[in-house]
Amino acid sequence: MTSRHFKLLLLLLSILTVSCNLEKEINIELPGYTSQPVVECYLEPGKPYRLLLTRSLAYFAPIDLSDPAALLWNDATVTIQVDGQNILLKNQLGIDPLTFQISNYSSTDIVPAGEGREFKLFITMEDGSTIEGKTTMLSVVPMDSMTIEANDEGKYRVLTYFHEDQSTVNYYRRMVNFGSLDSLNQDFILDDKIFDTEKGAFGTGFSFAAGDTLIQSLVHIEEAYFNYLSTLQQSVISNLNPFGQPGLIVSSVTGTANPIGIFTGISMDRDTLILP
C-alpha cells in the first residue's frame, strides 16, 4: 500500500467514524410555560395522612442544587375530609424512615380502612386558588395462590393468581420488587376488559435464582389512578420514542390552581417470597 492509498484509507475511516455519531446536542427555544402545583397523596389504611405538594417547572428552568426543597410548594392549606370529619394536614417536611417517602403536608391521624369509604381533598393556595380531589377506597384483591416453575437452566419464574370479579370493571397495578422496595423488577397497570375468566394471573419471566427475594404487590386501583399512571408513563416514554404520540397527563385533581396530580386510596396486597 502506497502512502497515498494509506492516506485515502485514513480519510475514509475518519469519515465513517464521524458519520456514525448520529446524536448531537442542539439549542432550541421552547414555548413559555407557567408552573403548576403537583399533588401526590396516597391514602394507605393504617398509615398517617401524608401529601406531597410540589411545583412543575419550565423544562429548561435553571437547576439550583443547593436548594432541592425549592420544588416544594409550601404555605398552602390542606384538608382531607372523611366520614364528615375534616383533617388538617400541617405544612412540615417529613421523610418516612422505612420507605423514605417524602411529604410536606402530614397529620398524625391514621387513614381508616373500609371499602367504599370516600375521601375528599381541599387545598387552598396562598393566592386563594384551589385544588380539589375525591377518592373512594376500594377492596383489597388478595393474591390467592402462586406457582414457582424452573427451567432447564435452573432459573425460576413465579405465576401469581387472584380472583377477578367479572361483575365490575376493575383496574390493577402489579409490581414485583427484587430484594427490596428500591429495586423494581416489574411494574405495569391493566384493566380487566381482556380477562375471559375469573381466574386472573400475572407472571414473571425466568429471571430469578434460588434464594432470591421477591416482593410482590397487587394494587386494586381506581380508574382515575389508572389514567394518571398510564398518561404519566406515556409522557415519559413519548419523549424518547420517535414512534410515540405525546399527550396531556390526566390528573385526578382539579381546581382553579390548574393542578396536576393524584389523590387516591391504596388497596394493596403485598407479599414477600424467598425462592427455595
Binding site: I28, Y33, Q36, I95, E149, S238
Partner: protein, 773 residues
C-alpha cells in the same frame, strides 16, 4: 340509498346525451406495444397526421381514434420511442396493432416526443408520472430502487420522516392515499416500518400519482391515488432482469407461453440480512455471553399471466404476495411478528365496438399482521386484518375525437378483524381475549367525459356516486369532478379543476411513521366518512421544445378528519371508536415544476410552498387549529440525470425542506410514586401540539451508472452515495435530563437538561449490480 341513486340517474343521463357520436366517420382502434417485448404502452399518443387532435392509449394500451374519412394517416408517439406514421387505407381493418421501437436502438437519433405539447392540451392537473428509468437511475438509500421514495422528490409530496415511504400529499395524511397495484388496493405499501416500499420496480410498467383533479374512476381516498401497473410479460422471447444489492437481491423472468398471444412474468425480491444473523447466531451457540440477534427479512413475489383470447378479448391474471417476518426464539419463548399484503387480480379486456372498450376486473386484497409469542405453558396471539373482494367494470367510449367517455361501476366487500387478541394458559384455565370483527359494503359508479371543445379549450366533467353500508348505517355521496384547460398560445395553457373525494375507511395510526400494527377501520354509525374538496388553478408554459414549466395553486378543505384522544388506547381495544375524535382541516399552497424529459440531461426542479392545518377536534387543544407534524413550509427538489457517454450516466438529487414539527414537552414535574414504585425526577409535561420546528432538512444523493454489454445481454453497476455531504438531518428530537442521587435525601436530582437531535442516516455508499438478458 335507493332514493339517492334514483336522484342521481338524470344527472348521469344528461352527461351521456352530451356525447352522442356523429355518423359517417371511420374509427380506428387497437393497441400500441413495445416492439421488443410486446408490452402494451400506456399513455402513448395517437393523433391525426398534420393535426394536434388525437387521443391516448388507456391503461391497457387501447386506443380509439375517429378519422374524417375512410383513409388517412395517424401518428403514434411515446417518450423514448421512435415516432411511427401509419397509413390507414380501405384494406386496413381493426384492430390496428402498432409496435413501436425503442429510441435506444438508434444510436444518434434524438428521440422526440410531443408529450409536453400533449400535457399543455390536457385538462389533467396535479398528476405526476414516474418513468421506470427515473426510478432506477435516481439514487435512494442503500441503493434500493423505490418508486415511492422517488415520488417523494416530486413537488407537493412529503415523506413522513427520513427514509420513510409514507406519502403526505398536499396536506393529506398518510392514510389518505390510494395505492393500487394492477387494480387491487394495497393497504400497507411498506416494508420495515416504511424504509422500503412493497413495489418491486423490475415488475412495474407504469406509475402515476394524482394529487388533485382526480378522474372520476378513482374514489375512496382523499389526497392521492398512486396507480401502479405491472408489466404484462415478454410475449416475444424469454428474458430476465435482476440485481444484487447490499440489502436485497431480485430476479424477474418473462417468457411467452404462446408467442404473440400469451406470456408470463414472475418477479421476486428478498432481503438477506437474516442469513448473516443466523450464521452469527449459529456460530455463537453455547456462548452464554452472547445475545442472539433477532431474525428479520422481507420478500415480494409478483406473478402475471396474460392470454389473448381473440382480436377483441384479452385475459390477465396477476398476483402479489409480500411478507415481513420478524422472529426471536430462545428456550423460554418464541416471538414472531409477521405482516404482509396479498393481492390478486383477474381482468378481462374486451373491445365491444371500435368505440367501446370494456375492462372487467375482480380483485382480492388482504393485509394482515400477526404477533404471537409462545412461552412455557402460555401463548399470546394478536392480529388485525382487512380483506377486500372487489368487482368492477370500466367502459371507455370514444364516440368522436372530441369526446372520450369513461364510465363504470364497482362493488367491494370489506371484512375487518380489529385487534383480535387471544392469550392464556395452555390448559385454558387462564384466558384473555379482545377484538372485534366488522364488515361493510362499498359501491361506486362514475361517468366522465373528456370533451375537446375546440382547438383551444377542453373540459373534463365527471361525477362519481359512492355509497357505503355498515350494519344498518348507509352513507352516500356525490363526488363531482371538473377540469378545464384553455390554450392561450401554442406554448401556454391555463387550467382549473375541482374534485370532491370521500373516504369510507380510516387508518387507526397514532404515529406519523408507518407501523405494521396500524389498523384499518370502517365508517360506522359513530364514525362518519372523511371528505375533501380541492380546487386548483395553474398554468403550463413550454420553454423551447425541451422544458415544461408548470405552476399550480391549490386549496383543499378536509372534513370529518379523524384523530385520537389524549393517549388513545389503540391496542386490543374492543371500544376503539371511543378513542376517536373528529375535526376538520385545510391545506393550501403552490407548486412550481420545471421538467426536462429529453436529451442527455434530463430531470426536474420542483418547489412547493404549503400550509396545513387541522382543528375543531373537541378533544384536542379545545378545538383550536394546529399544524400537523408534516406542515412543511418550503420544499425544493433538484434532480438531474446526465448521460456522459452511452455507457456512463451520472445522477444527482438535492432536496431541501423546512423542518417538520415536533411535539416537545414545555415543562417537567417530579413524581415520587408509592413505596416500591418508580420515582421519576423528570416527567415531561406537554402543552400545545407540534410546538417546535425542527432544523431544516437537506441532502444530496449522487449516483453513477456504468453500463456493460456482455454477450448474454446487458448489465450495469450502480454506485450511489446517499447523503453525500453527510448532513445530520433530524429524525426526532428529545429532551434529555441528567440526574444523580442526593445522598442526604436519598432522591434523584436533576443536574442537567439538554435537547438532543437524533439522525438516522449518515453518508451511505452502496453498490448494486443489475443485469438483463
Amino acid at each position: 340509498m335507493l332514493n339517492f341513486l334514483t336522484r342521481s340517474i338524470p344527472l348521469v343521463g344528461l352527461m351521456l346525451i352530451f356525447s352522442i357520436q356523429l355518423s359517417g366517420q371511420r374509427t380506428v382502434t387497437g393497441t400500441i406495444r413495445d416492439a421488443s417485448d410486446g408490452e402494451t404502452l400506456i399513455g402513448a399518443t395517437v393523433r391525426l397526421a398534420g393535426s394536434d387532435r388525437g387521443t391516448f392509449t388507456n391503461s391497457y394500451g387501447f386506443y380509439s381514434l375517429t378519422l374524417e374519412s375512410d383513409t388517412g394517416q395517424i401518428v403514434i408517439s411515446y417518450v423514448g420511442y421512435q415516432d411511427q406514421v401509419i397509413k390507414i387505407g380501405p384494406g386496413v381493418s381493426n384492430p390496428v396493432i402498432i409496435d413501436l421501437s425503442s429510441g435506444k436502438l438508434l444510436e444518434e437519433v434524438v428521440v422526440k416526443s410531443n408529450s409536453f405539447r400533449e400535457q399543455l392540451g390536457s385538462t389533467q392537473m396535479g398528476v405526476q408520472e414516474l418513468t421506470m428509468r427515473e426510478a432506477k437511475l435516481i439514487p435512494v438509500v442503500f441503493g434500493e430502487v423505490d418508486i415511492i421514495k422517488t415520488l417523494q422528490l416530486k413537488p407537493g409530496i412529503n415523506s413522513g420522516s427520513e427514509g420513510n415511504s409514507g406519502l403526505f400529499v398536499r396536506g393529506g395524511s398518510s392514510d389518505q392515499n390510494l395505492f393500487i397495484l394492477d387494480e387491487a388496493i394495497v393497504y400497507n405499501p411498506n416494508h420495515l416500518f416504511g424504509f422500503f416500499s412493497t413495489f418491486n420496480s423490475d415488475a412495474i410498467k407504469d406509475v402515476k400519482i394524482y394529487k388533485g383533479g382526480f378522474p372520476a374512476q378513482y374514489g375512496g381516498r382523499l389526497s392521492s391515488v398512486i396507480d401502479v401497473k405491472l408489466n404484462d410479460g415478454n410475449n416475444q422471447k424469454i428474458s430476465g432482469t435482476g440485481g444484487i444489492g447490499l440489502i436485497s437481491s431480485r430476479l424477474t423472468l418473462e417468457a411467452p407461453l404462446v408467442k404473440n398471444k400469451s406470456s408470463i412474468i414472475l418477479s421476486g425480491r428478498r432481503t438477506y440480512a437474516d442469513l448473516i444473523t443466523r450464521a452469527v447466531n449459529k456460530s455463537n451457540e453455547g456462548n452464554k455471553e452472547f445475545n442472539p440477534i433477532p431474525d428479520y427479512y422481507f420478500y415480494d413475489l409478483n406473478a402475471k399471466v396474460n392470454y389473448t383470447l381473440s382480436d377483441k378479448d384479452k385475459l390477465f391474471i396477476s398476483g402479489y404476495f409480500g411478507q415481513d417476518r420478524f422472529g426471536f426464539d430462545n428456550e423460554n419463548f418464541q416471538f414472531n411478528f409477521d405482516w404482509g399484503n396479498v393481492t390478486s387480480t383477474a381482468r378481462w379486456n374486451r373491445v365491444i365496438t371500435p368505440q367501446l372498450f370494456i375492462n372487467t376486473t375482480f380483485t382480492f386484497s388482504d393485509y394482515k399482521y400477526q404477533i404471537s409469542n409462545e412461552l412455557t405453558g402460555f401463548s399470546f396471539n394478536l392480529q388485525s386484518r382487512i380483506r377486500d373482494m372487489n368487482l368492477k367494470s370500466d367502459f371507455t367510449y370514444a364516440p368522436s375525437n372530441d369526446h372520450h367517455i369513461q364510465m363504470g361501476a364497482e362493488v367491494t366487500r370489506h371484512l375487518f378483524t380489529v385487534g383480535r387478541l387471544k392469550a392464556g394458559s395452555d390448559d385454558g384455565e387462564i384466558s384473555f381475549s379482545a377484538g372485534q370483527d366488522l364488515d361493510a359494503w362499498e359501491a361506486g359508479a362514475y361517468i366522465q367525459d373528456e370533451w375537446t371543445i375546440n382547438d383551444r379549450s377542453a373540459l373534463s366533467m365527471g361525477m362519481r356516486l359512492s355509497g357505503f353500508l355498515q350494519k344498518k348505517k348507509v352513507y352516500g355521496a356525490l363526488e363531482p369532478r371538473l377540469a378545464y384547460n384553455y390554450r392561450v398560445t401554442e406554448d401556454l395553457s391555463v387550467k382549473a379543476n375541482y374534485a370532491r373525494m370521500v373516504q369510507y375507511l380510516h387508518l387507526v395510526a397514532n404515529s406519523s411513521i408507518s407501523l405494521p400494527t396500524d389498523i384499518w377501520y370502517p365508517s360506522t354509525a359513530g364514525v362518519r366518512p372523511q371528505t375533501s374538496d380541492q380546487v386548483g388553478v395553474g398554468w403550463q408554459y413550454l420553454l423551447g421544445s425541451q422544458f415544461l414549466l408548470s405552476n399550480e395553486y391549490y386549496y383543499k378543505y378536509l372534513g370529518n378528519q379523524i384523530d385520537f384522544k389524549n393517549f388513545a388506547d389503540l391496542f386490543a381495544n374492543d371500544q376503539l371508536e371511543q378513542e376517536f375524535t373528529f375535526g376538520n382541516g385545510y391545506a393550501y399552497g403552490t407548486e412550481v415544476y420545471l421538467e426536462k424529459k429529453e436529451g442527455r440531461l434530463t430531470g426536474w426542479v420542483g418547489y412547493t410552498l404549503a400550509w396545513v392545518r387541522r382543528g375543531e377536534f373537541k378533544d384536542i387543544m379545545d378545538g383550536r387549529f394546529f399544524a400537523p407534524r408534516y406542515d412543511r413550509r418550503h420544499d425544493i427538489s433538484i434532480v438531474g440525470i446526465y448521460e456522459l457517454t452511452h455507457r456512463l450516466t451520472v445522477t444527482a438529487a438535492w432536496v431541501y425542506g423546512s423542518g417538520d414539527l415536533s411535539w416537545l414537552p414545555v415543562g417537567r414535574l417530579p413524581f415520587q410514586d408509592i413505596p416500591g414504585g418508580q420515582t421519576q425526577p423528570v416527567v415531561p409535561v406537554y402543552g400545545d401540539r407540534n410546538n417546535l420546528r425542527q432544523p431544516a432538512y437537506h441532502r444530496l444523493d449522487l449516483g453513477l451508472v456504468i453500463e456493460f454489454s456482455p454477450k448474454w445481454g446487458e448489465s450495469d453497476l450502480t454506485i450511489s452515495v446517499y447523503n453525500a455531504y453527510n448532513r445530520r438531518n433530524p429524525y426526532f428530537l428529545y429532551l434529555d435530563a441528567e440526574t444523580k442521587t442526593n445522598e442526604n435525601l436519598g432522591i434523584e436530582e436533576v443536574v442537567g437538561i439538554k435537547a438532543k437531535q437524533v439522525s438516522l442516516f449518515p453518508v451511505l455508499p452502496s453498490f448494486t449490480y443489475n443485469f438483463k438478458f
